[in-house]
């Protein structure tokens, strides 16, 4: 019964790979600073899925701890990153990454 309804482990890993690749694609092709940032979050989510899948596979809780830490780091990163985006927008009135090509002025 369980073997009939169970999902192969590789499906989870492939889903994780698809999400990660889409995150990379978004990171590369989007031109809005916030969308680029969100693509990074998507990549982190994809990695979390891998962690939890492997945690299931190895029957150990460590993967959950790692993805927990990833979430904490993502929260810190979002706070700082969005503050930086706000500062950039105040100075240049634009969120296009093409407009942000010089270090100062």
């Amino acid at each position: 019964m369980q073997s009939m309804t169970s999902v192969p482990l590789s499906w989870y890993l492939i889903l994780s790979a698809i999400l990660f690749a889409l995150g990379v694609a978004g990171f590369v092709i989007r031109r809005n600073l916030i969308t680029v940032f969100m693509s990074i979050e998507l990549m982190l989510n994809a990695v979390n899925l891998s962690f939890i899948t492997f945690s299931y596979q190895l029957k150990q809780v460590d993967g959950h701890i790692f993805s927990f830490f990833v979430m904490v780091v993502a929260a810190a990163e979002a706070a700082v990153g969005l503050a930086i985006i706000l500062a950039i927008f105040r100075n240049r009135s634009s969120l296009q990454i093409d407009d942000i090509s010089s270090m100062k002025y």
Partner: protein, 165 residues
């Protein structure tokens, strides 16, 4: 039942992720990302990570993404401008991505040792109690270090939010 649930929510996740990438407006992308996170939370539940599923919704979808939506609304960011893309990228981008994914899928299928499939209830260590026990014994030092990291992030955000920069 497991396979149906997996397929439904994996499809939602992939569709939302594609929508994130193709949408021009940041708020559409943000909502798609929330969709990805919510469906991933369901997949975590299927994998036995009940605590992680709740944290995913509370922290990721409920706090981080609210910040994103808040900033998008605050800046009233419109749709992004098209920048001059190279012809090569438009022609070969999507096929190459698909080819890369096919390669990764093949490697995963071949490289993974044969294992029994994932079924709901196959892993019961994802309870808050189990995670808390490991977090406060084995991973105590990393846990404390992350609290320092968050403190640094708070100070950094406050400094960056000042008017002078």
């Amino acid at each position: 039942m497991d396979a149906i649930l997996f397929l439904i929510f994996a499809t939602i996740a992939v569709l939302c992720a594609i929508n994130l990438v193709v949408q021009k407006h940041p708020i559409s992308s943000a909502l798609s990302l929330i969709g990805v996170m919510a469906s991933l939370a369901v997949l975590y539940l299927l994998l036995g990570g009940e605590f992680l599923a709740a944290v995913q919704l509370i922290v990721y979808a409920g706090a981080i993404m609210v910040l994103f939506v808040f900033v998008i609304m605050l800046l009233n960011a419109g749709a992004e401008r098209r920048s001059n893309r190279s012809l090569m990228a438009t022609l070969f981008g999507v096929p190459l991505l698909a080819a890369f994914l096919a390669l990764v899928a093949y490697v995963i299928q071949r490289g993974l040792p044969p294992t029994e499939g994932v079924y709901f209830g196959g892993f019961t260590q994802g309870t808050p109690r189990a995670i808390g026990r490991v977090l406060f014994t084995q991973y105590l030092l990393p846990f404390e270090v992350t609290s320092v990291l968050i403190l640094i992030a708070i100070i950094g955000a406050v400094v960056l939010a000042r008017k002078e920069i």
